[in-house]
Symmetry: C2
Subunit: 252 residues, 2 copies
DNA sequence: GCACCCGTTGCGTTCTGTGCAACACTCATT
DNA sequence: AATGAGTGTTGCACAGAACGCAACGGGTGC
């Protein structure tokens, strides 16, 4: 919408890949060096970009401050965290917390597995929306037309033979998840990794977040993982209750 | 430097204070509503800003992703973290890790105290540069003219009667810190809180980060806290050594 | 039903961002 | 030393993009 800002903001994910010098930035943005310089300076003034001693640019520490403040306003996260830790202590596996935002589902918290074999994921990273248990949980509670609109807009990458193949299958899966109140991902994203998840609901009963437990086949089989379902659901419900307690009804 | 980008970026800290609607943003920026709308839309397109259900804007979860990626490139943090945890387990108090960037000193990691009485701080937050132990450690290793330039540019807020009063006192303090290789903050920021810290050095011997242990008077006296100094220094040195081991000399 | 408030749109003007070209600087190479 | 290629930086004229205005639309409350 605004060309200048658009270009400037495009620099951030670019630098997230690693430090870059002025020329590289200009090339990647397809603008003149002087333009890139001006944009970088402005970003620098706001602390979002830092110039390291070799003159190359990288993301600035101010991003931490902003992200951290943003996190403080995501109060679900604060409330959920101790529960996630408890769940991890009980089962030992990786625990994720995710929210739905702008047609993306993002992990906003994570407690690492105690086992040496870990799955790769990253807080803030968009999840594979067509297969992840948390994604299904969050989308399942949307209205029927919304679900349909999203389902049809998505791509359905075949991460594995078990990945959701198309919109039709996805909508059916969402209906199932909505019905049963929990979801799984059995090798749909990575062949050897299974997940089981449950929704955290707002005061209006719709899911505002979702948590999941993930473990590789080599540690526990899918059947064994499913025995954790009651625990996972109880944890989600505990968070839901606590969230309801602290939530003041909409002010205005 | 670039007006449009400057305005757009100014929205971020504004929203960090809490969600705001279009009118509020426009007022705070002192621009027309339509201008604010355009900027917000652009930020939104990049995921830095999220529009919640009541139409108000807040910071977007994409900021997490960026901050997280930025953190992965701050390799000091990765290396230091387990040491900080170990230090916390040994002494029980709050442990901070900070770096110096653009005339600010920022916390980039933190391990919470095990005691119920905690001090307030936040990762990403700029620290009180004139009094904090970590700030003194990081500035002490700059060249003499740099130190002088910074010292004279700073304000010297009197947080407490023990706060550093002026540039002269600060420069003297920096000299002491440089000499002895460790630093304290004894009630200089908050009356009842004491800190003791030590520097983490790069391969060139200059401090690239600093860690500190903080505890309130009610838990341990300043004298007791100082008995931790050898442990704090050993921890910092261990991180320094590990950092030196993993650091590949500048490529080009 | 009215008035009010808020977000949104289209448009003409003008200010701002743009790319160019020249400059300054460092670092290798000859 | 001198040359050249590679950086980052500056000033400037032009054009195009961002600006503010005014009018519209869709709520909400009186």
């Amino acid at each position: 919408m605004s060309q200048t800002v658009d270009r400037a903001l495009s620099i951030l994910p670019l630098l997230a890949e690693g430090p870059a010098d002025l020329g590289q930035v200009a090339t990647r943005l397809d603008v003149h060096k002087s333009t890139a310089l001006r944009l970088l300076r402005t970003l620098h003034d706001h602390g979002l970009v830092y110039r390291q001693s070799d003159q190359r640019y990288r993301l600035g520490a101010r991003l931490f401050a902003l992200a951290q403040e943003a996190a403080e306003h995501l109060d679900v996260r604060e409330i959920a965290h101790p529960h996630l830790v408890a769940l991890n202590e009980a089962c030992g596996h990786t625990v994720h917390l995710a929210i739905h935002e702008d047609n993306e589902v993002l992990y906003i918290d994570k407690v690492e597995s105690r086992y040496p074999v870990r799955m790769y994921s990253r807080i803030g990273k968009p999840v594979a929306i067509t297969v992840a248990a948390v994604a299904k949980l969050l989308l399942a509670d949307l209205s029927e037309p919304e679900r349909r609109a999203i389902a049809e807009r998505l791509d359905y990458p075949r991460y594995t033979p078990r990945s959701t193949p198309n919109a039709e299958a996805y909508l059916k899966e969402l209906a199932t998840v909505r019905e049963q109140g929990w979801a799984t991902d059995l090798g749909g994203h990575e062949e050897s990794i299974n997940c089981v998840g449950a929704p955290i609901r707002g005061t209006d009963g719709r899911s505002i977040a979702a948590l999941s437990v993930s473990a590789p086949n080599v540690v526990v089989t899918a059947e064994e993982l499913l025995t954790l379902l009651p625990l996972v659901r109880r944890t989600a419900e505990a968070i839901t209750r606590e969230y309801a307690g602290t939530t003041t009804p909409p002010a205005a």
